[in-house]
Each structure stands twice: as structure tokens, then as C-alpha cells.
Subunit: 341 residues, 2 copies
DNA sequence: TTAATTTGCGCAAACGTTTGCATAACTATT
DNA sequence: AATAGTTATGCAAACGTTTGCGCAAATTAA
């Protein structure tokens, strides 16, 4: 039972056929008669033939593998995306190898090298926070490997991108607050070097403007990473504000949860006195009390869409690589934190 | 700029050396002079040489890749483990390709086939819920591919396993409740077909016994998947119980959170009237109010440990595959939900 | 029957590495 | 000056597939 894996040649010898015939038989090539296909398949099963994909990849220059680069795997959003990627890839005969950039540009570049060495058929990436310049991606793209970005996408070249409409989602969320009677609305935003947070802020402002509400700059708070702790700090600022807020739109769910908790502790009724909306539909949003109104950002679908687009580009013959941007529709999930019925 | 990747031969021709010399120079082989190593490296950089790992894998029968099979990627515990795996693997020159079994035995078997085809150097797996029989794993193991299980591990053969001591952790958690003055303690448990939940129940009982507290079977509730919703149902049962509980040990954090919320809504003070302990240290445990006392199950470290063990076995010459079980130490994280100080 | 077409299969090359062995060029030892 | 030892490099085979092309046999058309 030691390391002598059966090969095509072994099968060939065994059946007095050529290796080519065996090969073709096993992939159901039309030029082979049904009869011999049966024979070959049977013998293959019998001898426990294990096809050597590496040899095939080597020969065909195709690995049926897609590389994925995410900042971190243990961020729920990314794990959802990866889940969508794996699911779609698996169902279409591709495997997925994952890398964490840890938001390090250096590591991102290393990974790109590895992916080229390993000849992945395509790659899906969410940019690291350090990455301002995408030359390393341009290079791999030029070398013929299709690329799809999601969520944090490059702005300096037009690649394939899967995004949600952050502007519109934020607009919707804010408008929802307004329709629920809020007139003095705050916004907790993320780093303005990241486009998605910039867009959410713009959407927020646009909704206010549209409904003729003043934009109170003092109610727009900026955080670095939208952490729970930063959220707490923001909420406390709101408490001290001379303006009495009656609504907050938070750029993610963590900060929204902070706001809920801080305000509750201050004995301010949610949603009666202040309505809260988050962003991302994290699991906690349906657990926190009151349950949090939020935006479903379609992480799983994002993974699927990215993979679908990537595989299409991999399998398309014409090698003039077009670039496409797909914008996924989000959805406002209304829960108690904003429902003044 | 089209598909003509530079090869060793190209470099060889360019430098009037043989391909073997180039190959050896690039891997820093001792038999090559420093002088030529310099030359070769320089030329390689100059021409943008990209080593073809597939060819190398083909030749060496080693892919520097480890396969990972998890039930689902988007479960936080697994995403943490995977994160640990990727981190350790990356730092040791291995790549990680992931698969989701979706708890399907059929899919698990398919994946095993793929992993053999692709000649991964080793595999890390958390068994799917359907998997009672590990013959497919035994087979791949026999074929010389090292295997490490984590969390949900097989009982019917002795493989490499990374686990935590569920019994001891549960014992500790329960004892903590007792030391905080609880005398009537409930336990919300998971499916008893899963060993880890069986062990947690046993640990719970053992602690009670040790401290001469009666084991009230009616306070031990079983759920199927330890979901938040099941937790709510359990908590409601507790409310209706004739026995007045003053503590609950939950087999995971989701159910613990349910209990907190249901009891709070019933205006029962936590931890004064009832103390709660969860299991896993999910992010929500430090957000829910009161913050949840729980067990740190060391998911990330589990991934690291699994990978470390796996790589050791891959790189060990002697091919008599030993099997090892590593038990990670857990840690009780005391927070407000159980602190009656 | 012969010619033309189709069907089924084999030959052999190629993919880019790595590696055991041979060999050439030195250096050191006698 | 001859021998042994060392150092640096080259040769060639091998890894297991896939695939273009060729060819024989079987089938169909004439």
C-alpha cells in the first residue's frame, strides 16, 4: 500500500490500450467508443486510479484554482464572502486557496507572487487598508490572470469590481429615519480614506438635503475603525451635545450597538426618543435589544457574484480582458430600533 | 507581453549555464558558487522570472499546500481556526485551500477525492455532523497524507487531534458558579451525539457532585443546535420551573445570551438573582449587557496547533505515522454576568 | 466492387522542474 | 610532478498528463 499510485500508463498496459485512450476515455471524449469508456472506467475503479491533477495542471497550464486575498478571515463580513466564493467555486469545479493580507501591503505583494507561481486561474481580492497603489495587481492582470475586487476596490484602474451602492444604501437608511419622524440625525462614520465610508456619509447628507433638513456638522462623528469602543465614545459625545438628537445612522452595526447601549444606560428610550440604524446586518443586530434596523450588505452574494464573474472571465476565450462593475442591491431591514410605527 | 513566461531554460541559455545550475542557484544550493548565484539572481530579476511551482510540485510530488475541511466557513469559531491555520501555514511556506462540507457526508467524501487528486501535503478537518464513519479519512491517511482533526474529531480511529478539555472547562465554569454562591444550577446542552457537548454536560455534573449539590435532571435542557432561538425557549422553560434557579451554565454563548435577555425581560436581576456562564467567548459576550462570563475556547490557537502538528508530520522523514492528541488549555473569562463579588 | 467518409485508437512530443551521477577545473598534498 | 581531494557545473532522465496528427478499420456512398 506504499506510494505507488496507479497512473494512466498502468491502466493502459493493463488494458492493452494507449495512455491517450485512457485519458480521453476518462474525460468522456467523443472520439472514444462507449464500450471502451465503460471498460476503462471499470478498470480505473478497480485499481483505485487517482488522477494526478498536478500533472494535468502542469500540462494544461490550468489549475482550476482561484486565489482569494482578504484582509482577515475572521472578520464576519469576509468569512461570509469567502463562504459564497467557496460555494460557487465548488459547484463549478474550482478550488479556493485563501490568504490574509493582514492589511499589509508587503504581504499583499508577496501573496501576489505566490499566486503567480502557483498559476491560479484567477484571483478575488479585497484590498488591504494600506494599499493605495495597485501596480502589483495591474502586473498580474497583464500577465493574463483575471482579477475581481470586492468591497474595498481600487480606484486607480478599472478592474472588475463587485460592490454595493453605499451611497444609495445610506440614503435609504437616513430617509427611513426621516420618515420615522427624526429631524436631528447624527452619523457615525468610518475612515474617510476608505471610499465606502465616504459614500455612506455622502448618502447620509444627500438624504438630509433632499428632505430639507440642516446638516449639522457637529453630529457627524468620525472613527478610525468603527469599533465598538469608538462607538461608545461617539455615543457619549452625542449625550453631551447641546442639540437633542432623535436619530443616528451608523456606518456599521458595532457602533450602532454601542449607541443603543449607551443611550439605554442613559435611560433614553429607543426608538421612541431616538431611532438607530446600523449597517451590515451582523448577527448581533437581531440579538441586541431592541433589535437593530440595518442594511443587509449581501456579503454571501458578493462572494458568489465575484466568483461567477471571475469564472466567466477565466473561461471566456477572447483574451481582451474587459472590466465590469457589478453593484449589488442592498436591503433595509427594519427592526425595532427605528420603528416608531 | 503575451504568455511567454520565462523559464529556467531561458535563463540558462541567456547566461550560458545549464538549467540545473540555474535551478540550484535559485534555491541557494551549497554546490553553487556565490558568484554565479549572484549572476543568476540578477538575471532572474531582470527578466522577471516567475518560478513555476506547478512544475516543481509535479516533479517533487509536493505541493506545499494543505487542505482544510470545515462544516462552514461563516461560523465564527471556524473562521477563527482557519485564520490560525492560514497564519501559521503562511509563515512556514504553505498555502491553504479550504472546503466547506456543509455537514454533508457525501460532500466530505468528494472533497477527500479532490484533495488526493490535487496532492495536498496534508489535511486539517473538523468533521461534519453526519459523519459517523471515518473510512474515507482512513483511506487518505493510509495513502500517506497526514491528517489532523480539530474540535469535532473521530472516535473510531486514533488520528491526530487538537481539542480542548471540554469536561474540565465545563467543570471549571460550573465550579465558578458554585463559588459565587449558586446552588440551583441549570445547564443548556447541545446534541448528545456530539462528544464535546456530552463532555460539557459531564463536566457540569461532576462539579455539582464534587460540591455535593443535587443534580436536578429537570434543569438540564437539551437543544439541537444551540441556537439563539433554542436558547430563548430553554430560558422560558426555566422561568416556569418550580425550582428557583440561581445559575445557568450554557454550552455556548448564543444560548447564554438568550438566557440573559429573557431573564432580564422578566425583571430578574443578573447576576444578583441568577448568574450566567457561556462557552466560546464569542464577540457578543463582551457586548451583551451584562457582559458574559464565558470560556475562551482558543479557536485561533487551535488552528495554529493543528497546522504546526500537521507540518511536523509532513516534514518528518520517518513515515510511520504516529498519532497525537493535543489538548489546549482553556480559560475562564469572568465578566459581569456571574460576578457577585 | 471501389472510393470516400467516418470512427476509434495509438504515437510521440511537450509542459518546466529537480536530482543522481558524471565530469571538468582547481587546490592541496605528497 | 603525480595523486588525491574538493569545488563547481553539466547531462539527461523522469514526473503523468494532454493533444495534434496520423493511420487503420469500419462504415457508407457511388
Amino acid at each position: 500500500m506504499k506510494n505507488t499510485r496507479i497512473t494512466l500508463k498502468d491502466l493502459a498496459k493493463e488494458l492493452n490500450l494507449s495512455a491517450s485512450t485512457i485519458s480521453r476515455a476518462l474525460v468522456n471524449h467523443p472520439a472514444i467508443s462507449e464500450a471502451t469508456k465503460k471498460i476503462v472506467q471499470k478498470k480505473a475503479d478497480e485499481l483505485g486510479f487517482i488522477p494526478n491533477s498536478i500533472a494535468a495542471s502542469f500540462r494544461m497550464k490550468r489549475t482550476q484554482t482561484i486565489g482569494v486575498i482578504v484582509p482577515r478571515i475572521d472578520i464576519h463580513f469576509h468569512s461570509l464572502v469567502i463562504s459564497g466564493i467557496e460555494e460557487f467555486a465548488y459547484n463549478n469545479g474550482y478550488n479556493v486557496t485563501i490568504f490574509q493580507s493582514k492589511d499589509s501591503l508587503k504581504r499583499e505583494k508577496e501573496i501576489i507572487k505566490i499566486l503567480q507561481n502557483k498559476m491560479v486561474d484567477g484571483v478575488i481580492v479585497c484590498l488591504g487598508i494600506e494599499t493605495q497603489n495597485c501596480d502589483h495587481f495591474k502586473k498580474i492582470n497583464k500577465s493574463g490572470i483575471p482579477l475581481v475586487f470586492y468591497d474595498r476596490v481600487p480606484t486607480d484602474f478599472d478592474a472588475n469590481k463587485i460592490v454595493i451602492n453605499d451611497f444609495e444604501s445610506a440614503y435609504l437608511a437616513t430617509e427611513h429615519l426621516i420618515k420615522n419622524g427624526c429631524t436631528t440625525i447624527g452619523h457615525i462614520s468610518g475612515s474617510q480614506t476608505t471610499n465606502i465610508f465616504k459614500a455612506r456619509l455622502e448618502g447620509f447628507k444627500a438624504a438630509l438635503k433632499k428632505h430639507h433638513l440642516p446638516i449639522e456638522e457637529s453630529l457627524i462623528l468620525f472613527t478610525k475603525n468603527l469599533t465598538y469602543e469608538e462607538g461608545v465614545a461617539c455615543a457619549e459625545k452625542y449625550l453631551e451635545s447641546p442639540l437633542k438628537l432623535d436619530g443616528v445612522f451608523c456606518a456599521n452595526d458595532y457602533t450602532a450597538v454601542s449607541v443603543i447601549q449607551v443611550f439605554r444606560k442613559a435611560e433614553i428610550k429607543i426608538p421612541e426618543e431616538i431611532a438607530i440604524v446600523g449597517f451590515s446586518n451582523y448577527p448581533i443586530s437581531r440579538i441586541i435589544e431592541p433589535h437593530l434596523t440595518t442594511i443587509n450588505d449581501r456579503a454571501f452574494q458578493m462572494g458568489e457574484a465575484a466568483t461567477k464573474l471571475l469564472i466567466r472571465q477565466i473561461e471566456e476565450k477572447d483574451d481582451d480582458i474587459k472590466s465590469e462593475t457589478i453593484t449589488l442591491k442592498t436591503e433595509l431591514i427594519v427592526r425595532e430600533s427605528s420603528s416608531r410605527n
